[in-house]
Symmetry: C2
C-alpha cells in the first residue's frame, strides 16, 4: 500500500465531503440557511457504508488517482444523503428522526429539505466534474455511473417512484431503491482505480441485497438509538420485510449467503484477499452479533 | 451556415429532449407514472428561451460539435423544467397551473413532483456526460457550467433558497433565481461551439435581467392564457416586481437598455450580426408589442 492507501479511509471520506460542500457555505456568498441544511444532511457521519465500499475497491486496484476516488466516494455519499432527505419528506415517509437527530425538514422546514436534496444531487455531479485531471475518460465514466445510480429505469429515484406506482414488482423496487447505489459504489471505485467496472457489478449487487436484508433485520430487532431512526417502520408502513416474510433464521441465512457470494465475485486483483477481509468485517457489523451466532 | 446550423432550431431542441427522456420511459423498465410525469414536465414545449439561446450562441461560433450543443441545450431546458416543478410545490408557490395545464403535483401528486424534479436534475447531467465524444474537455467544462447554474452560491437552487432566508438581498436573489440559467445557456453554447465561455457571460447576464423585467411586466399586464400560469402572483405573494416598484414606462426603458447592452456585449465572431438580429427578435417577443411602441 502506498501513502494515500494507508491514509485512514474515514478521514479521506470526511475530508472529501468537507471540501465538496464548502462552495455551499455562506462565506462563498450563498444563502446561509441552505448551506446549514446541506451540512446538516451530511454531518455528522453516518456509517458511510457506500463511500467506504467505493474507496475499498479503488484501493484494491492500486488507487493510482486518489483525487478521482475521493471525489467518487464523496459524490456517492452526497447522492445517498439527498435521497434520505427527500425520502423523509412528509409526502413520503414523514420521518421525524434520522441519524439520531430530527429529520432535515423537521429541523429546517420542507422548503429547505427540498432544496438541500436538489443541491446535493447537483453537487454530487459537480464534485466529480471538478476532480477531472489527467484522466478525463475516467471522469466521464464516473459521471455516467452516478447518473445510472439515480435515474430511471434503475436508479434510486426510480426505486422511490416504485412506491408510488399502483403495481410494483418487489425485486425491481429493491434493486433500484437499495441496490443501485451499492452497484455504483463498487463500479465507481473500479473506474476511479482504473479497472473494468463491469467486473465489479456483482459485488455491488450482492452487497446491496445483503444490506437490504440487514436493514430489514435491524428494523425488527434494533433499538431506535442503535440505528438512529424509528424501528418497526416496515410493518407500520406496510412495506415488505424479509424477516416478517421468512422468519429470522431464514433471513440470516440468506444474508450470510449473499455476503459469501459477494466475496467470491471479487475479480482477481492485487488487493483481493485484503478486500475480502475488509468487506466481511464491514458486512458482519450490519447485523447484531447475537443473531449471527444463533444462526451459525 | 452548414447543414446542421440550417436545421430548424426548434426541431433540434425537441429531438434532443425526446432522446434525453427516452431512458425514463416505461419501455426501458422504469416506473410508468414517473416516466409520464417526467414527460409532462417537459412537453409540450414552453418558449424554450434558454435552449434557444444556447444553440444560437453555438451556431454563431460555427457549431462544429452539434452533439455537444444539442446535449447542452436539452440539459439546460431539463434543469429549468426541474426548477419549475419544484418551485410549484405546495411548500413553495403552490401553483395550480403551468404552461396552460395543471401543475405537475396537481396532475400526479407531490411525490411524483419531487421525484420528477430530482430525476430531471440527474438526467440533465447525464445527457451531457453521454454526449462525450471527441472533445472530452468540452464535456467536462459543460458539466461544470451546468453545476454552477444549479448549486450554491450562485445557482438557481440558491436563488430559490433566498426566498426562505430571513434576510435576502434582492439582486443576489434575482441573479441566482433567473440569471444563472441564462448565463449558463450562453456560456454552455460557447463551450459547445469551442469558444471562450467567459466572453459570453455578460450576454447571459443582461438577457437574464431583461427576462426578469419582461416577466414582471407580463405578470402585471398579460392574461393567464397568454403566459400559461396565473397572473398578478408577485403582488399576491409579496414578491418584488419592477413594474410595481418603478412604473411601466421606467420598466420598459430598463428592459430595452438591457437588451441593447446584451447585443453590444457579443464578442467578435462569424455569426455576430445574425446573432444580434435573432436575439433582438426573441427579446422583443417577451413583452407585449403595444407596450414597446408606447415606450418608444
Amino acid at each position: 500500500m502506498d501513502g494515500s492507501a494507508a491514509m485512514d479511509m474515514a478521514s479521506r471520506i470526511e475530508d472529501a465531503l468537507v471540501a465538496a460542500v464548502s462552495a455551499a457555505d455562506s462565506a462563498a456568498g450563498g444563502p446561509p440557511r441552505l448551506g446549514q441544511a446541506i451540512r446538516y444532511a451530511i454531518f455528522p457521519a453516518g456509517a458511510r457504508v457506500r463511500p467506504r465500499l467505493c474507496l475499498t475497491v479503488a484501493l484494491a486496484l492500486g488507487d493510482d488517482d486518489p483525487a478521482a476516488s475521493n471525489a467518487a466516494a464523496a459524490a456517492i455519499e452526497m447522492l445517498h444523503c439527498a435521497s434520505l432527505v427527500h425520502d423523509d419528506l412528509p409526502c413520503f415517509d414523514d420521518a421525524t428522526t434520522r441519524r439520531n437527530k430530527p429529520s432535515l425538514h423537521r429541523a429546517f422546514g420542507q422548503r429547505e429539505a427540498v432544496l438541500a436534496g436538489d443541491a446535493l444531487i447537483a453537487m454530487g455531479f459537480d464534485v466529480i466534474a471538478r476532480s477531472a485531471g489527467r484522466n478525463p475518460g475516467r471522469t466521464i465514466a464516473l459521471l455516467r455511473c452516478l447518473a445510472d445510480a439515480l435515474t430511471p429505469p434503475n436508479g434510486i429515484i426510480a426505486g422511490q417512484a416504485w412506491e408510488c406506482e399502483p403495481a410494483a414488482e418487489l425485486s425491481a423496487y429493491q434493486r433500484a431503491k437499495t441496490g443501485s447505489l451499492f452497484v455504483s459504489a463498487a463500479m465507481a471505485g473500479a473506474i476511479a482505480g482504473g479497472g473494468d467496472p463491469q467486473a465489479w457489478r456483482v459485488l455491488g449487487e450482492r452487497l446491496g441485497e445483503a444490506y437490504q436484508i440487514a436493514d430489514d433485520i435491524r428494523d425488527v430487532v434494533a433499538s431506535q438509538e442503535e440505528i438512529g431512526k424509528p424501528v418497526g417502520r416496515d410493518v407500520a408502513l406496510g412495506r415488505p420485510n424479509a424477516v416478517v416474510a421468512l422468519g429470522m433464521a431464514r433471513a440470516i441465512a440468506i444474508f450470510e449467503t449473499l455476503v459469501e457470494q459477494a466475496l467470491e465475485s471479487i475479480p482477481p486483483c492485487g488487493g483481493r484477499q485484503r478486500l475480502q477481509q475488509l468487506i466481511r468485517a464491514e458486512a458482519l457489523r450490519l447485523v447484531p452479533e447475537e443473531y449471527l451466532e444463533r444462526a451459525a
